[in-house]
């Protein structure tokens, strides 16, 4: 038997891939199909479903009430992505231009908060942001700089802040990777041809790091769009995103088909974003 194994690499590959393939088919792919299928079923009386086909859930999902939540979530995720890109690019550039030792130190310092528990990191902002008892407002009012507490909590600002805080390293790392792969001689060539610094950036650096920009944007946009903890904690129960609506459909409203329909749309959006990314990367080689 071992002899057959050695002679047939195809069999070796099949044995190696079998555990992962079977596990993911049973506990990922099939659940995925079931969620999509549930989107087309009728709601049961006490949670669960009635097995009869309907388009009602998907129609309800594009109803302005819920569609607006989708739009709002997409706007929050989009803003988070843009802010991460704007503040992350200069940082990635700085890190990429340091000596090896300093570069490793800066990367490590970037990753340490990232490796801490996400819930804990989000909770940490509660202490600072809360309207009447948050440290920022208490301090500013104590110093007499403001009379009324600033609206730092329970709104989109707080959610975006929490998301930027949570996912910034996901933006910086791909940008850093792209920047550190840049061939310095290209920059020299551009400068030698009397291109001003700004042109070197827009014509050479930016286009060459575009795959990094795309990867970072995907890595920030997707978890931001599906955010649950951040809006639940920093949105103060008022400012909700689509993740919280899905959560409510399962835990409060017991409307599983509708919750499934919302999840299906969310998954669809993710796949679209990812496909767009792969097309961009492939076109750029």
């Amino acid at each position: 038997m071992i002899e057959t194994l050695r002679r047939r690499p195809g069999l070796q590959a099949a044995l190696l891939i079998f555990p992962a393939a079977s596990f993911l088919v049973v506990f990922f792919l099939m659940p995925l199909f079931i969620v999509v299928a549930y989107s087309f079923l009728e709601r049961g009386k006490y949670g669960g479903v009635v097995w009869s086909f309907t388009l009602e859930n998907l129609q309800r999902a594009v109803d302005p009430l819920y569609f607006n939540t989708f739009l709002r979530s997409a706007r929050i995720a989009g803003l988070t992505t843009v802010i991460c890109l704007l503040i992350g690019y200069p940082l990635a550039y700085l890190i990429a231009t340091q000596s090896d030792r300093r570069r490793n130190f800066l990367l490590l310092a970037l990753m340490i908060p990232f490796w801490s528990n996400f819930l804990v990191r989000t909770y940490a902002w509660l202490t600072l942001l809360r309207t009447n008892t948050g440290l920022i407002n208490v301090t500013l009012m104590g110093l007499g700089l403001i009379r009324e507490p600033l609206p730092l909590f329970g709104n989109d600002f707080a959610i975006i802040l929490g998301l930027v805080y949570g996912w910034l390293p996901d933006m910086v790392l791909p940008l850093y990777a792209a920047l550190s792969r840049l061939d310095p001689s290209l920059l020299e060539a551009a400068s030698d041809l009397y291109a001003p610094g700004r042109r070197v950036f827009t014509r050479v650096v930016w286009p060459l790091t575009l795959p990094g920009v795309a990867a970072g944007s995907i890595l920030v946009f997707i978890p931001s769009l599906g955010a649950f903890i951040t809006p639940a904690l920093l949105g103060g129960g008022k400012s909700l995103m689509i993740g919280n609506v899905i959560n409510n459909q399962f835990l409060a409203a017991h409307d599983w088909p509708f919750g499934s329909a919302l999840s299906t749309i969310m998954i669809g959006l993710m796949l679209l974003a990812t496909l767009a990314y792969f097309r961009l990367v492939r076109r750029r080689g």
Binding site: G10, I17, I87, S180, L225
Partner: protein, 303 residues
């Protein structure tokens, strides 16, 4: 960890052609540095505040009432916290072990062989990373409900505590961790020189010997990195645990979430501080295991 090609170093740029250019470059450098300093303050300020206020001898968070270890003392005698902690560790250790084995095998198949359906397998390995955890949690919730597995608990006695950990939670953690392990190990495999494996085979080592003596030792840093990532993600997870466990089951993260919903207390800060310290220790351990703390903390080839 791989080494990256040399970065555009400041020194390598051509000399600036006039004083104005030099000044502008200097100013730009200063702007970049101060931007970085501000960002690192932004990254660490909340964590520092969190830790400081875990020693606050006052129930009201924004008022400093003197330093105390009171909240840590309260934690020590709290059985709910103990249960949550051991549940978390039990799930993390078990799911890390399973997903590291499965993920490593998958990485070897994907990187060292060509087979039918490889592209589909690639997609299947990437999907759990792409899909947001709330959607994955819903998928698994429905699946466990429908298949009748439900939230059947695995009963174990650990350090005098009777744990009842639902199988569904462990399965859920494995299913999102396999992909992360596979990707990290694959990046390591892609970096390795195949000539060594070929040399071993030229010297009449059989497949098993080649694997055991050449491939495995060289893959080890990748496997360790993948396992640590899986462990961290498992300890970190809230959403999937919450949805696949049924009511009343606590891991540390689920327990903290429940407390936070009721209000902000120094006790939460104390638990959170311990969790931060724990992950710091893990990062330190990872650095020690990989080249004795030298080398890049992040593998750029992952991106």
């Amino acid at each position: 960890m791989s080494s990256s090609p040399s970065a555009p170093e400041a020194k390598q740029r051509p000399p600036h052609r006039d004083l104005r250019g030099a000044l502008r470059a200097h100013l730009g450098g200063m702007l970049l540095s101060s931007h970085a300093v501000l960002l690192y303050i932004f990254l660490y300020l909340p964590i520092v505040v969190l830790v400081v206020f875990s020693f606050n001898d006052s129930r009201f968070l924004a008022k400093w009432g003197g330093a105390t270890f009171r909240w840590y003392g309260e934690l020590a005698g709290d059985t709910q916290v103990a249960y949550a902690l051991w549940n978390s560790l039990f799930i993390a250790v078990l799911s890390t072990f399973i997903s590291t084995v499965i993920g490593t095998l998958a990485a070897m198949a994907m990187e060292r062989y060509r087979f039918h359906g490889q592209l589909a397998m690639d997609a299947l390995l990437y999907l759990p990373i792409i899909i947001p955890d709330i959607a994955m949690a819903i998928m698994l919730l429905i699946w466990f409900n429908l298949s009748g597995v439900g939230f059947t608990p695995w009963k174990v006695e650990l350090f005098g505590l009777r744990l009842a950990v639902p199988y569904s939670v462990i399965i859920g953690h494995v299913s999102f961790n396999i992909s992360f392990v596979a990707i990290v190990v694959r990046a390591r495999l892609a970096d390795m020189d195949r000539a060594l494996e070929e040399a071993a085979q030229d010297l009449y080592a059989n497949s098993w010997q080649t694997f055991r003596r050449v491939l495995l030792p060289m893959m080890m840093p990748g496997i360790v990195a993948g396992a640590l990532l899986a462990f961290t993600l498992s300890m970190d997870d809230f959403v999937i645990t919450f949805f696949t466990s049924g009511a009343g089951f606590n891991t540390l993260t689920v327990y903290v979430f429940g407390l936070v919903k009721k209000g902000v207390t120094p006790k939460i800060n104390a638990i959170s501080t311990l969790m931060v310290v724990f992950s710091l220790a893990l990062v330190g351990l990872a650095r020690l295991l990989q080249k004795g703390g030298e080398g890049a903390p992040v593998d750029v080839d992952l991106f």
